[in-house]
Assembly symmetry: C2
Homo-oligomer: 608 residues x 2
């Protein structure tokens, strides 16, 4: 008899109503320290998206559990600045009497500081939680208010936080070369060549994703992304040194890395940085804490704040990673098809809840094999909950799905060979003509990205509007990017590639991105359709330039009940039919019984 | 009898073959000054696009006459870095034995410096010709090479340049309030409010376009743009001070400005800057020379390098400017129609040359009335010359148009009420199927921009690809932006709005832009289709968001002989037919005889 599977997702509401008292405690601590305010970003020491429990200071302080945001606590005012994803969630989670929620589109944290800090006031910050650029912005903001910024050696939130969790120390193991596609030694040689081209003598690796990629290791320090928290120092010559928070390290990894790198405890990092006297040291501007810069400079090194070259290398997947990702998507697609077939039946029976859907989907994925984790907490939003872009169902918000609802399920999985991320929006009962119109427009945008052909050098920002034009024509839009980069058994949100206004790097063959336009009718329903796509070369007959396009990796039917064929042109219909035929061909051998019958029906041609 | 009209355009080749000897002379001057290299940007003291003759140092030195580029002269190597518009022209104009032409897409001037300057070498620059950011980039480049950067008090090119022209001193006159739409006093109040919001005590206006707009003045110091070169200091309180290069100032202007501003000679600028002790002074990062920053700082002021707020205000045209621009386009459209009718007939007779077309178009515009200048030298490129994006015909390159050619004419005019810019590509004789295919794809991109609907806040970068998608689908593209901003009786290239990868500001109602996709078959033909468009609010029935679209300002037919109707969808055909009907309705009353008959034929419907 096997042990019952440990569930990967829970549904307790992590928010709380203790914001006012905790903020009061923080204010008292600030007064004692002679500080007039403090910045509490949703950040850990690596600027990661998923942070360990001991770094969830913003959630502990305010109750806000979103993945991005920043609070500024002053003596007489406090603000929580959140982006468009969280403008509905944040006011619902925090005590808005104690903290004003400020939409980022209206005011940045820096602009709020400039307006509220006040002359001669001192604003504190934790130098492990901000990059040098971030500190420079805070400095300018404080200066505009006539105040100053001060680094604090200890984070005052921590002294107020009774029962703060311990730092994580998960198992660190080797990522097999068959899946990684390249040895750590070969990867480090490429990184060193990039350092040489930029006249740098060493690299401080501050991004745990880059650590995982470069050294072919995986960890378990944060939820949903197999990261080992830590740093590395990679000199142009000689062995690299890793500084890992965990000491639970697979000896096979230590042995495999031995020729190229040694592993030391995280506590040795200061000593490691102190050896960089005289060196020109590259520090990643996006993830490197200003504390690292200060330590290198104190040791007599010069810091070149720029890009960790690993970020761009990691983004372009090699043949082994692509093959693994394709396999992961076939496996995941079969589980998703079983889930969708189950969901149709369960919804028809009545009583289906959002949490039941999350658990069923997780169970189907676990049964499909090789599941290591979900790649993020499943977004399971029916009816009005679907309009909350980053909704996370809790016992309190859980809702029974009703006829006439749309049901938005955005989920993904971590397999050893790849990371998945898929959104399907489903009709429960009979959808309204408006729902079909909106769904079809979102689908047209999604298909426009899928079919896009563009020259080498094109950025995601340049094609983002292809996904929006069908909505724009109707006076509609959605308030998030069209796509984010995705890792290979790494983060489901990986840069630098994006299909968004902010996607300013060129798309390159081997990059994986999501393609997920949406439409949100606040208080009524949400629509999002998401596949992952792989950038690939695209040969065009009689074309003159090297062109690129996308291979769709995700395999699962769209909901044909929500498609209004009259809105589609012939090219769009043909693409959808061809995709459905491909889904059927790939997945039919993997599913049977009612799921197989469901798949056959769901992938029928829309026709002309 | 009236005096013969002075022609606005000449066709002498301003380039020369004296590059090697002039570069040798500069190198001797550098050696004497103990400097190892010098940067020669195509720039004047205001970073203007059109520079006065005395600032044409790059053309004097190298022979390259493009509107952008930068030479770096070292003892043993020299490079001219040019953007995609000039990668064909530059090697044809300069002695590539003496100067290597480097495409910007391959290497920036800074990267070239980093590679070639050499350790311990000193690179000189003229602090009046570089912005603080530009100097910082040069400093980093020199540092990467192990060298240093040094500001030179005198530009060493000037000491080598025998017969260097005197600085311009054209007439400066008032721009009537009826055309400007707002008094200088009202404009300055808006600028001061913007300075207050940014906590600045004063603004140094370094951009002559902004000087012209803010003080409702126009000058004659550079070709094609009615600028008076100079600066202004605008304090938060008290009168502004203008420092103008010219002393030929209309007393009416002096009197009109007297309540808000005094006019001083350019030579008094240093004295003016010395009064800014203790002030926080905004300096425009795009046009303000580092020399200005140094002078303010030497006087004890603090420089806030940012945006001159006038740039954004000037970009949004008021009702008077829009009405004037519409009137200018009707007048210009009638002249263009007369020209196109003439050109069809002249081409049929044979012997038509590119220069003859330029002169005829200028004559038609002059006869149309109110012509102050062309807004830039007409691009009149037949056959292979059409593929040179910024071709400028000279007596040497002039070409007789032949049957089977495409003829690309890109031109514009300065009228007191508005600035125009239009490109039409014309079939001479019978075009090939390939030409019709390419023309139609370019037109589809142009129509896609014309029809675009997008939410408030959308940038030009987001919609640029709409103009490219029909070409991309065929593996084709063009190497320039889709559109640039245009002034109101000011520069034909005005920022910050652009429809291009680099167009990162939101499009706002009242902004004027060009819409000019193209296709260039090197050595064979060029196609470009350009109208100016005005951003306007666009009401959408049942839409949820404030949307914007474009009103097309330019009025002139496309060449229907080059349109392949089978490539167009119904929406595209309807838009073209409606536009042609509008052109006919607007211009038919203004033209008669053969031009009227030509217009009627040229604007017939394409039909279904």
């Amino acid at each position: 008899m096997t042990e019952p599977r440990r569930r990967l997702q829970t549904f307790d509401d992590p928010s709380h109503r203790k914001g006012p008292e905790r903020i009061a405690a923080l204010r008292a601590a600030l007064r004692e320290a002679g500080i007039d305010g403090f910045v509490v970003p949703r950040a850990d020491e690596h600027q990661s998206e998923y942070v360990p429990a001991n770094a969830e200071r913003l959630a502990w302080l305010t109750g806000f559990t979103g993945s991005a945001g920043s609070a500024v606590i002053l003596a007489e005012a406090a603000a929580l600045v959140v982006d468009g994803r969280y403008t509905l969630q944040a006011p619902a989670q925090v005590d808005t009497g104690a903290v004003s929620v400020v939409p980022l589109a209206e005011q940045t944290a820096e602009a709020w500081i400039a307006e509220h800090l006040g002359r001669d006031r001192v604003l504190g910050y934790d130098p492990w939680l901000h990059t040098p650029d971030g500190v420079a912005r805070l400095e300018r903001a404080a200066a505009r208010a006539g105040g100053t910024l001060r680094a604090l050696a200890e984070n005052p939130v921590d002294s107020c936080w009774a029962g703060r969790p311990k730092p994580p120390a998960g198992r660190v193991s080797a990522h097999p070369e068959a899946l990684a596609g390249q040895t750590a030694a070969d990867k480090l040689a490429r990184v060193r060549a990039a350092l040489a081209a930029d006249s740098c003598d060493a690299l401080v690796i501050s991004d745990p994703h880059n650590l995982a990629w470069a050294f072919n290791l995986r960890g378990a320090d944060v939820g949903h992304t197999p990261l080992a928290l830590g740093y590395a120092i990679l000199p142009r010559e000689g062995r690299a040194r890793l500084f890992l928070a965990s000491d639970d390290i697979d000896p096979a990894l230590t042995a495999a890395l031995d020729p190229v790198a040694g592993i030391a405890p995280r506590l040795d990092l200061d000593e490691g940085l102190s050896t960089l006297a005289g060196a020109r040291v590259r520090l990643d501007g996006a993830t490197g804490a200003v504390a690292l810069k200060e330590r290198v400079e104190a040791a007599g090194g010069t810091v070149d704040v720029g890009k960790d070259p690993i970020t761009a290398m990691k983004a372009v997947k090699n043949a082994a990673e692509i093959a693994g990702t394709r396999a992961a998507h076939r496996r995941d697609g079969a589980s998703v098809v079983r889930f969708l077939a189950w969901l149709d039946a369960a919804a028809a029976q009545g009583g289906l809840t959002e949490i039941a859907a999350v658990e069923a989907l997780e169970d189907f994925r676990a049964a499909g094999g090789d599941l290591r984790d979900v790649s993020f907490p499943t977004i399971s939003g029916s009816g009005p909950n679907g309009a909350i872009v980053h909704y996370r169902v809790t016992r309190e918000t859980d809702r029974t799905v009703r006829p006439g609802d749309l049901f938005l399920v955005d989920s993904g999985a971590q397999y050893p060979d790849g990371t998945t991320d898929i959104t399907r929006t489903l009709a429960i009962g009979t959808p309204t003509p408006e729902m079909r119109d909106r769904y079809t427009r979102v689908l047209q945008g999604h298909v426009a990205i899928s079919r896009a052909v563009f020259p080498q050098g094109t950025t995601g920002a340049q094609i983002d509007a292809f996904a929006r034009a069908p909505l724009w024509r109707a006076g509609l839009d959605f308030d998030h990017g069209t796509g984010h980069g995705v890792g290979a058994f790494l983060s489901v949100h990986e840069g630098p590639q994006r299909i968004a206004k902010t996607g300013t790097v060129a798309l390159e063959p081997g990059m994986i991105l999501s393609n997920e336009p949406g439409y949100y009718a606040a208080g009524r329903y949400g629509i999002r359709i998401e596949n992952l796509v792989l950038v690939e070369p695209r040969a065009i007959e009689a074309g003159e330039r090297p062109m690129l396009g996308f291979e769709t990796l995700t395999l699962a039917p769209y909901d044909r009940r929500l498609i209004e064929p009259a809105l589609l042109d012939a090219g769009e219909r043909a693409w959808i039919d061809a995709y459905h035929a491909r889904v059927r061909e790939a997945l039919a051998p993997l599913v049977d019984g009612p799921a197989r019958a469901w798949l056959e029906r769901a992938t029928e041609a829309i026709g002309p």
